[in-house]
């Protein structure tokens, strides 16, 4: 892969607006994410965090503005869009593992069908990835036989198998029992250390402090504040961020 000129962000949103009917969910969003950068998105419920995440691989279309990934504008529909999505990994709150396929098949499907790898190559790589996230010995089970934390780690392996340029995480630990949260956060932290570009919607402050380069605070469809974690948590500049932090840190 050829390196692009330094300074060009991997993901760039400029002037992005989105409506759900009357509701203006994303308002003039400008956001640039550099290669290897880990951005944590936080904000109150309904502020548009998931929507922001989902516009980056166009699971949601936008009404105006522009989104580019690696300098390429998001295609509208069809094969072009599918190809681009293959480069953007996504991890959902509810895992969304393919219910009728084994763990191994979950991870090899994309590489075989989209990247056109041979079954043998895809399986070899899938087993490596499953080992890396600590569920290698579960390869032949189906998703319902795994715990939530295990399923979410498989979902991360499934996304990694596509060798994505960037990974999106939408509240990856919110559906998990407390004792399983760390096993998932640990995998994510090690990914961040290895230089993966990541956008993570989460309320896990520990993860944000440990792994993020930047925290983006959203409220009512706008990006209100963007700062390094230490600054954001100790000295937020906006009233709304102060208010939000006092609520989540005090309970």
């Amino acid at each position: 892969m050829t390196e692009r000129p330094t300074g060009e962000p991997l993901v760039r949103l400029s002037g992005v607006n989105k409506w759900y009917g009357e509701l203006h969910v994303l308002q003039d969003i400008d956001l640039s994410i550099d290669r290897g950068e880990v951005v944590v998105v936080i904000g109150p419920s309904g502020s548009g965090k998931s929507t922001l995440c989902r516009t980056i691989n166009r699971l949601e279309a936008i009404e105006s503005g522009e989104i580019t990934i690696d300098g390429q504008r998001l295609p509208e529909e069809g094969k072009e869009l599918a190809r681009l999505r293959a480069d953007v990994g996504m991890v959902f709150q509810s895992f969304n593992l393919f219910a009728h396929k084994t763990i191994l098949e979950n991870v090899t499907l994309g590489p075989i069908k989209v990247r056109k790898q041979s079954k043998a190559d895809a399986e070899k790589r899938a087993r490596e990835l499953l080992d890396r996230v600590g569920v290698g010995h579960q390869a032949d089970k189906v998703p319902a036989q795994l715990s939530g934390g295990q399923q979410q780690r498989v979902a991360i392996a499934r996304a990694l198998a596509m060798d994505p340029k960037v990974m999106l995480f939408d509240e990856p630990t919110s559906a998990l029992d407390p004792e399983m949260i760390n096993e998932v956060l640990d995998v994510m932290t090690s990914l961040a250390r290895d230089g993966m570009t990541m956008v993570v919607v989460t309320h896990e402050m520990g993860f944000a402090r440990r792994a993020a380069n930047r925290v983006v605070f959203m409220d009512a469809g706008r990006i209100v504040e963007s700062a390094v974690p230490e600054t954001f948590f100790t000295a937020p500049s906006s009233e709304r961020a102060k208010d939000f932090l006092s609520k989540i840190l005090n309970h």
């Binding site: 529909e77 293959a86 990994g89 994309g110 189906v142």
Partner: protein, 215 residues
């Protein structure tokens, strides 16, 4: 017993006609119904509209009228088919609407997260339908599809009124010639249908248990 030995060739041929008609129409209905269901969930509005129009038209038209259209209507536009082929097409096209509806409800029962995750790893719409959504939808619709199949086997009897000698068509014919054996004749025809439907019901049950997915 004399009655059966005398009429065995007729009953056997009629049974085979009903069986062939059912299998061919069932195949047509399955293929066409799957295409229609895919169209109904596609992101392209004209395809959705066309499929909805088809399903609503055929679901709300009596099968006899569909037969009339295929067997007597089509020749008006110089498209002549044999009675048997006309019956296959009529029953198949009619049943496709029900297959499409059953599949659509199955597709809707597959969580939206499944298709979303499929798209997120870069599968195209067609691939995510083929690899993820339809295989799961087929599993949940085995029982309703089974009902559609059994109803369809019985619906093939409409072909009796359109010059195809299937099981039901033997009823008036045998009854005229053997007025004393009406009950036996009825029994023979009913057994003919049950030879198809009872093993089908058993097979459907087996498939249902085999493909059930753990959730």
């Amino acid at each position: 017993m004399q009655f059966f030995t005398d009429n065995f060739p007729l009953l056997r041929d009629a049974f085979l006609t009903t069986l062939g008609l059912s299998l061919l129409a069932g195949l047509l209905a399955l293929v066409l119904g799957t295409v229609l269901a895919a169209m109904r969930v596609s992101p392209i509005p004209p395809l959705r509209g066309l499929a909805t129009f088809y399903v609503e038209t055929f679901r709300n038209t009596p099968l006899t009228v569909v037969f009339f259209f295929i067997i007597f209507g089509l020749p008006q536009i110089d498209f002549v088919v044999s009675f048997f082929v006309g019956a296959v097409v009529s029953v198949g096209m009619y049943t496709a609407a029900f297959v499409a509806e059953a599949l659509r409800s199955g597709i809707n029962a597959v969580g939206p997260g499944q298709a979303e995750a499929a798209r997120a790893i870069g599968l195209t719409f067609g691939q995510s339908l083929r690899e993820i959504v339809l295989p799961q939808a087929f599993r949940t619709v085995v029982p309703p599809l089974g009902n559609v199949w059994i109803a369809m086997v019985k619906n093939t009897s409409i072909a009796a009124g359109f010059a195809t000698t299937e099981l039901a068509a033997t009823l008036p014919r045998l009854a005229n010639a053997n007025a004393g054996d009406i009950l036996l004749i009825l029994l023979a025809v009913v057994v003919g249908y049950m030879l198809i439907t009872v093993p089908s019901a058993y097979g459907i049950h087996r498939i249902e248990r085999r493909v059930a997915i753990l959730r």
